[in-house]
Symmetry: C2
Subunit: 256 residues, 2 copies
DNA sequence: AACGCTCGTTCGGGTTCTCCGAACGAAACG
DNA sequence: CGTTTCGTTCGGAGAACCCGAACGAGCGTT
């Protein structure tokens, strides 16, 4: 199985296949033994044994003649985000912010160089998007991500940005120098805009969440369609509300 | 490692240890290599290799000199509950119910013979409890669980209840016959009470969520302290609101 | 009704890969 | 500066993982 190139030595293959199966089920909502075996390039019996093990542990459940994800992952996921002080600190305040702005709001933290949404509040005029809890995004394509990049250490920023900057729309900032200039502006101003840089037709305003010692915990944003997010509202009033909320959340996060 | 008795044949040991490590980290918020090796009875190098693998996959992250759960579990957990129609159907309606009653509300589904909370709404007078998203509870000790047991097939009920009925408080119904009588009442009445059967000082009112073909999808409840949950309010008014919400959710769950 | 396809499952053997124990380097402590 | 404990690396023995083939059940088709 390690024929397709270099793999990190000293790692457990069985664990990788188990999680490969789990992710396959996640991406297909539910999967059968043969389907998994084909897609992952393993034998049916191997897939069967892994599924049997995962089912015994409660991480997958039988659903008719297929397997689906078990709710044990819900517990693990909850623990994973509970560990972030930012999660608890932002809950009430984000709801108020969303109600005031009338657009969707989200809370992001960084993990492995990508942004992860750990909390999301839908607005009254709830419009469907692809993002949900646990979604990961490229940091340079979102207002939350740029807020984070602008206020984290330079060392960490270089680690994250050393690769290619993926281009999602025509407005995505995919040039490193242009991005650094944008980040400098954000750093000076205290908040970030996103003008259709990830999804055409969508704008957002984000701000970093800073602990009192200056370290960044994550960031928040509100986002909505360009039809509503425009003019003074978008450029001045919303940023004021977002930065105000960010300040409150930052304070609450440090004293908890 | 299979010296301590009978184990199900044909299962992957490496997967079990990997998830054992994950659960250890969950229960301790963060763990180091040696601590895990000691507690799980494996060698340090084995624990190290598993952690290395899990870190590479993104399911654990380094946090100083310890390992913590990665947010990839948040994504998996979200997918696990998104699969339940009941989750989507209950979101708005539960918030309204909680606002009307003024007590905490929760949505439960059954998995592997236990109840799992997939959604929870905190009330204004938010009081702390041990339950959170992903918590599992004994079905016979909660109003949601009894609602479920009362309306699921008899076959499934026998599978679930064949073991010992754990006793959590002095009021827990731990006798099978008494429980069956209680379930019959619930079935007739359409909703369930919980009078300090799980936690002393806490009462709850629950109702099943039925699809239009009669199959049970899960159940909902509101719960609060005995100081507020009493009299006509507890015995008549709240049950009416809960059953009404359950009906609406049931309808929404079938047409989605 | 019987065929053929595909599914999930079981079984045993070969070989990979997991697991362990010991040794190393680093850091924290007294 | 010694001592302890940490995380990490390394190699070898043995176990267990992975595979392929075979079995049996469930469907849809002819």
């Amino acid at each position: 199985m390690n024929t397709d190139g270099r793999e990190t030595a000293g790692t457990i293959g069985a664990t990788k296949t188990s999680f490969g199966i789990v992710e396959h089920i996640r991406d297909h909502d539910a999967s059968g033994v043969s389907e998994i075996a084909n897609d992952l390039g393993i034998s049916k019996s191997t897939a069967h044994n892994h599924l049997k093990t995962l089912a015994e542990l409660g991480y997958v459940v039988r659903q008719g003649d297929e397997y689906a994800l078990g709710l044990k992952f819900l517990d693990l996921g909850d623990h994973a985000r509970t560990r972030h002080a930012l999660y608890h600190a932002s809950i009430g305040e984000m709801d108020d912010l969303v109600e005031a702005v009338g657009e969707r709001g989200q809370v992001m933290v960084e993990e492995n160089g990508r942004g992860v949404y750990i909390y999301q509040v839908k607005s009254e005029q709830g419009l469907q998007t692809d993002s949900h809890i646990g979604t990961t995004v490229d940091l340079h394509t979102t207002s939350v991500g740029k807020s984070y990049l602008a206020f984290c250490d330079e060392e960490r920023r270089n680690e994250i940005l050393d690769g290619e900057l993926t281009r999602l729309t025509t407005k995505t900032i995919d040039d490193r120098d242009a991005l650094e200039a944008e980040l400098a502006t954000i750093r000076e101003r205290g908040y970030a805009f996103n003008d259709e840089e990830r999804i055409t037709g969508m704008r957002a305003v984000g701000a970093p969440i800073l602990s009192d010692d200056g370290t960044i915990l994550g960031s928040i944003s509100v986002s909505g369609p360009t039809t509503r997010m425009k003019g003074e509202w978008y450029h001045t009033e919303v940023p004021e509300m977002v930065t105000q909320a960010a300040r409150v959340i930052g304070i609450r996060a440090t004293y908890s």
